[in-house]
């Protein structure tokens, strides 16, 4: 009964979404007030039904209702409760439901926080959101209902959730990522509404900015969590693989970062209007393309999801309608948007423009690399893979000028800047950055790789200049400025982490018997022995490793090898001793002869800084958000 209720709630939600998409626009056209004001209650109603449907699916999982096909495929009676709930979005159908529910959530937020927005604008925004929601609900109901029943032969036991996904990192990673992806739909809706009315001004940018920043925060958090999850669970000790699905989340992040900066110019100076509009459309388009790439199976990826060409075709058609209409509208209306105010070549506007150009070029090269195998295939030239060598070669050189400019921009005035004053402001940070990074490197190693020096110097440069910009501004600082500072320092911290861990990591793949000692860097790893492990839905082995540093005991690491009983899938859980300056990472490989095991031992310096940097960026976003929300929506 409950699953049917969930399905019915989905259909009702679709009805409401259709009303929300059509009536407000008709109302504006025909001048019928009662149709225009319909948008808000219908948006809230739609969200209510989506939540109901979502809880119905959670209920089916928690009560082990294996007559529901989706539950039978992704759950098991022995699965811990937390993962039963997380399994709701562990495969295709449920993650589409999560997608739509989150869209409903954002729509409801837009519906509620609307005090200062003109009624017509508000109705248009909600109508666009309603249209997107209708498309996805139709997709969910027709091709991928999670409530489909196996009535005739209900299995007694479910197949279980993919073991890789049984991890707290995964439980939180997709919802955060989707909050980000879907959150950009609000920015998209604002852009379309502005194009429909041809009213693009500072007020419009002010309404749109908090939504964009909020979505960006969630996306940043989602990517950070995903990277952390991959590091711990995939057992390779890597934190970024340039996998198509990872790229799909990184593309909207790059474009979204560009959008935040471009919106700032539109808000403060009234420039870059049509560029901001185009970016807003692009960011959401990339989110949709990302969803399509993951869901359709056109690209091979480590992110295993069941794929179906019919689903792919539906998504692509919908994508073409949404993005095509958006870009067509842009092509028709953007030429009428009047340009902004004057700015000289040496001004903050110029630096923000350069930032946008670099970010978009980086985004395009990654998009190209991700789609290149597909294009080659579509042209009938074969089926190939583009891997990290390409992405590292194109991405890193673009980040160097970006980081450099990130230092200059905040110290520059809007509109016009005196070159001499600017150079004087930059002189000391530049000198200190170079010397500090050289000093740090000389203290630790005798030879200095060029890339490490560049990475460290740029990170120091960004931090120093950001601190200087705070000093110049003087107390009390606005939340906006603190937000910018935190986010920029976050990038610098992340760069330090990436540079150090890429160049100074040590990796040993060794054969070890109990009692053997392997030395990695300054640490000795002693294989103490194996004990048996009994988990709720798996059995396995624990290998104990004693780590010593110059005969001083450091830690005891317990690397696990699990066998998930329901699907008989083996899974490696690495043991990690986390530290500020280094991680020690031990993963148990396969058994070899004579009681010996293949063991992977990694020494990863500064790896945590990558995720701390991500968290700092999120914190910065929240600071900026606090200011703009209280100014624009509450008071």
């Amino acid at each position: 009964m409950i699953p049917e209720l969930g399905y019915f709630a989905l259909i009702l939600a679709l009805g409401m979404a259709l009303i929300q998409a059509i009536f407000p626009l008709l109302g504006i056209w025909r001048d019928k007030m009662s149709w225009i004001v319909l948008a808000k209650p219908v948006a809230l109603g739609q969200f209510l039904f989506l939540v109901l449907s979502f809880f119905c699916l959670i209920y089916a999982f928690v009560t082990d209702d294996f007559s529901v096909a989706y539950v039978a495929q992704n759950s098991n009676t022995q699965l811990p409760l937390l993962y039963k709930v997380a399994a709701v979005w562990g495969a295709h159908e449920g993650s589409v439901l999560l997608w739509v529910t989150i869209l409903g959530f954002w729509t409801a937020l837009v519906a509620v926080f609307s005090k200062k927005i003109p009624l017509q604008m508000h109705a248009r925004v909600l109508a666009v959101l309603g249209f997107i929601s209708s498309g996805f609900l139709l997709f969910l109901i027709t091709t991928s209902s999670p409530f489909r029943r196996l009535l005739l032969n209900t299995p007694a036991q479910g197949i279980d959730l993919n073991p890789l996904l049984q991890d707290p990192g995964l439980a939180s990673h997709p919802p955060m990522l989707y909050m980000g992806y879907v959150g950009f739909s609000v920015a998209f809706a604002f852009a379309i509404a502005a194009l429909l009315t041809n009213k693009v001004d500072a007020a419009w940018a002010r309404w749109m900015r908090p939504w964009t920043i909020a979505a960006w925060c969630f996306l940043t958090l989602g990517i950070t969590l995903g990277s952390w999850w991959a590091y711990r669970v995939l057992g390779w000790g890597g934190w970024w693989f340039w996998d198509p699905v990872e790229n799909a989340s990184f593309l909207p992040w790059l474009a979204g970062t560009a959008l935040i900066h471009s919106l700032l110019v539109t808000e403060k100076r009234g420039s870059f209007k049509s560029w901001t509009l185009l970016l807003a459309i692009c960011v959401f388009s990339l989110s949709l393309v990302g969803t399509f790439l993951v869901r359709s199976g056109v690209l091979v990826s480590v992110h295993a999801f069941a794929n179906d060409p019919a689903r792919g075709k539906f998504l692509l058609l919908f994508l073409a309608v949404v993005i095509g209409c958006g870009l067509l509208l842009y092509a028709l209306r953007a030429p009428f948007i009047k340009g902004g105010s004057y700015f000289s070549l040496l001004s903050r506007e110029t630096f923000l423009l350069a930032n946008n150009v670099l970010l978009i070029v980086a985004m395009t090269t990654i998009l190209l690399g991700t789609l290149y195998p597909l294009i080659i295939d579509a042209l009938g030239l074969g089926n190939i893979s583009v891997g990290p060598p390409y992405f590292n070669a194109v991405f890193v050189p673009l980040m160097i000028p970006l980081l450099f400019l990130m230092g200059v921009g905040p110290l520059c005035y809007w509109r016009e800047m005196n070159l001499k004053v600017l150079l004087m402001r930059l002189l000391y940070p530049a000198i200190i950055a170079v010397f500090l990074s050289l000093l740090l490197l000389l203290m630790t190693t005798d030879k200095i790789p060029v890339m490490v020096f560049i990475g460290l110097a740029l990170a120091c440069w960004v931090i120093l200049v950001t601190v200087k910009s705070m000093l110049l501004k003087g107390w009390p600082l606005s939340f906006n400025h603190i937000g910018m500072a935190l986010a920029h320092i976050g990038i610098a911290v992340c760069v330090i982490g990436i540079t150090m861990t890429s160049y100074y990591k040590l990796e040993r793949d060794v054969r070890m018997q109990p009692g053997d000692i392997t030395t990695v860097g300054a640490y000795d790893f002693k294989f103490m022995g194996l004990t048996n492990l009994q988990g709720p839905n798996y059995t396995g082995l624990i290998a104990d490793f004693q780590v010593t540093h110059k005969d001083q005991f450091v830690t005891l690491l317990h690397a696990q090898k699990r066998l998930y009983t329901a699907q008989q899938i083996p899974d490696t859980r690495a043991a990690i001793d986390a530290g500020i300056f280094r991680d020690l990472y031990v993963a148990l490989g396969d058994p070899l002869n004579n009681n010996a095991w293949a063991v992977r031992i990694y020494y990863k310096p500064f790896v945590r800084w990558i995720w701390w940097g991500g968290l700092l960026m999120v914190l910065g976003g929240i600071c900026a958000l606090k200011n703009s929300i209280s100014k624009r929506y509450i008071n």
């Binding site: 994508l319 095509g324 030239l381 893979s385 891997g387």
Partner: protein, 213 residues
């Protein structure tokens, strides 16, 4: 951009105000929009749409396509002169000499290549079922990772040359991994496949070819 001129010709624009539009006015504004695009400077605003349409066409074809083979300019030419260290042992070499005197397959792969992982079990089957030796070029890879990967997943190759910087692969005309070459007794490339070597391709294209050689 002469926005002002257009406005003057068309009078007060329905497009620029937020007011309700009637059908006559809408038609007028559409006509005017068409005129507008004869003006070159405004074509730039169409560019994003055009790019997206091209992309969408590729995505659409991507939904229904299978790997295909591609004629290579190297076919019926001798294997380019090369010398690589082997993956297992940096003292040993894998070079043209190894390919002389027997028909062989040369497979270009890498551990970072996800498509290659799909291909791997098929290569394992071929290695078990067929006497034809499979050689490999490990393309732009990490040595330790590759060794470890082959140890844990099985090694179908008779010999693996390690091409860390990818220079040898460039001479072979490698587009991207995986690629497979058929080399005859005299060291001449007779066939090249870009993409996954499927059991069908093996049965219907490569085996008949090898029988003839």
């Amino acid at each position: 951009m002469d926005v002002i001129n257009d406005r003057r010709e068309a009078g007060p624009s329905a497009l620029t105000s937020g007011k309700p539009v009637d059908n006559g006015k809408l038609f007028c504004s559409l006509l005017r929009t068409c005129n507008m695009y004869t003006n070159k400077s405004r074509l730039q605003f169409l560019a994003p749409l055009v790019i997206f349409i091209v992309l969408a066409v590729f995505l659409w074809r991507g939904l229904s396509l299978d790997p295909r083979q591609l004629p290579s300019p190297l076919i019926n030419k001798p294997v380019p002169t090369f010398k690589l260290i082997t993956l297992e042992d940096a003292q040993q070499n894998f070079s043209n000499k190894n390919l002389l005197g027997h028909v062989s397959l040369v497979n270009v792969w890498a551990t970072w290549c996800i498509t290659c992982q799909v291909e791997h079990p098929i290569l394992m089957d071929i290695a078990h079922a067929s006497p034809i030796p499979i050689y490999a070029i490990d393309y732009k890879d990490d040595r330790a990772t590759a060794l470890k990967w082959l140890q844990s997943h099985g090694n179908p190759y008779k010999m693996v040359g390690f091409d860390g910087d990818g220079k040898v692969s460039i001479n072979w005309g490698v587009y991207g991994t995986p690629e497979t070459f058929v080399v005859d007794k005299k060291g001449i490339i007779r066939y090249k496949l870009i993409g996954v070597l499927t059991p069908e391709v093996w049965q219907h294209e490569i085996l008949p070819l090898i029988d003839k050689l």
